[in-house]
């Protein structure tokens, strides 16, 4: 999979290099010819002929392919920190993880807070009931003396 991806990127890269080299060379030639046309009063047909006869031979560094394969090998050999099956761990790189974690933490805290406050309210309600009973029952008064 990675090797195929590497080959694809190699081809794409080669093609881009060729295109860049060609366009640069064309620009140079066009500039040169324009100057010559201006000085030699060359018409459009002659210019086209000259352009058609011109052939571009882009030069790629000799160790270009080797470098690309080396980069692929280095990337493949890097240990993955967390990988869950075929999942990509893109979400670990972004603040989305933090946002999700904070929202989740907030929700959990709110849930626990609601449960705890409900229990505390229940306890307080019972203590108020006991306080009322104590206020009207002299035996409760004596017991709590």
């Amino acid at each position: 999979m990675i090797a195929r991806h590497g080959r694809m990127s190699l081809l794409r890269f080669t093609f881009q290099r060729k295109r860049i080299a060609t366009s640069r060379a064309l620009e140079k030639v066009e500039g040169f010819l324009r100057t010559r046309c201006f000085t030699e009063r060359m018409d459009d047909d002659q210019l086209r002929q000259k352009l058609a006869s011109w052939e571009v031979r882009p030069e790629i560094p000799p160790d270009f392919q080797r470098n690309v394969w080396q980069k692929i090998a280095v990337r493949e050999s890097k240990p993955k920190l967390l990988s869950f099956g075929n999942w990509n761990n893109w979400w670990l790189h972004t603040p989305r993880l933090a946002t999700c974690g904070i929202i989740l933490g907030g929700l959990v805290g709110t849930g626990l807070g609601l449960i705890e406050s409900s229990q505390a309210n229940s306890r307080n309600w019972k203590s108020l009931e006991a306080k009322y009973v104590q206020a009207i029952d002299p035996y409760e008064h004596v017991r709590t003396y």
């Binding site: 807070g113 309210n121 307080n124 309600w125 009322y132």
Partner: protein, 165 residues
């Protein structure tokens, strides 16, 4: 290397952030969720506020019951004093004597009569209070007081269940 540092940074940040968010949410919910009851519990007449909310008293009913409660408080305190006196006298005599003397009999009778008096006064107050409530709430109040005051052997949970049944 950079990638791993970045992941570690986000994991740590996420853990701290999630924990902080959970703590803040927990404290906030707990604080605001219990605020009303805490204020009622702190108030000097919190028990009457409990009575108002538990038995759905109107302002007029609450005012009458508060007056009854204020009038009953010194009576209750007096009964409390009598109970303590009678109990301490009985306790002293039981410790001193080795047989049932007329003095001990009198002390037992006195403690019993104080108890009887207390029950009468308390029941009278309970009936007066329940008479101020709506019939259904009055009935619930009587049931609850019966289980909490007149039959205190019942546990609180049973009493509440009995009151709500």
């Amino acid at each position: 290397m950079y990638e791993r540092t970045s992941i570690r940074y986000w994991l740590v940040f996420t853990a701290i952030g999630a924990f902080a968010a959970a703590v803040i949410a927990f404290c906030g919910t707990n604080f605001f969720g219990t605020r009303d009851l805490r204020e009622i519990a702190k108030a000097p007449n919190g028990e009457l506020e409990w009575l108002r909310q538990e038995f759905h008293l109107t302002d007029a009913q609450f005012a009458k019951i508060a007056t009854l409660h204020s009038a009953y408080t010194p009576v209750c305190n007096e009964m409390c004093r009598r109970i303590m006196e009678a109990n301490s006298k009985l306790d002293r005599l039981v410790s001193e004597k080795r047989e049932v003397t007329p003095e001990l009999e009198a002390a037992i009778q006195e403690a019993g009569s104080v108890q009887e008096d207390c029950h009468k006064q308390m029941l009278a107050h309970i009936y007066q209070v329940s008479a101020q409530m709506n019939p259904a709430d009055g009935q619930n109040y009587l049931r609850l007081m019966k289980s909490r005051v007149i039959q205190p052997a019942l546990s609180s949970d049973t009493a509440v269940r009995a009151a709500t049944e």
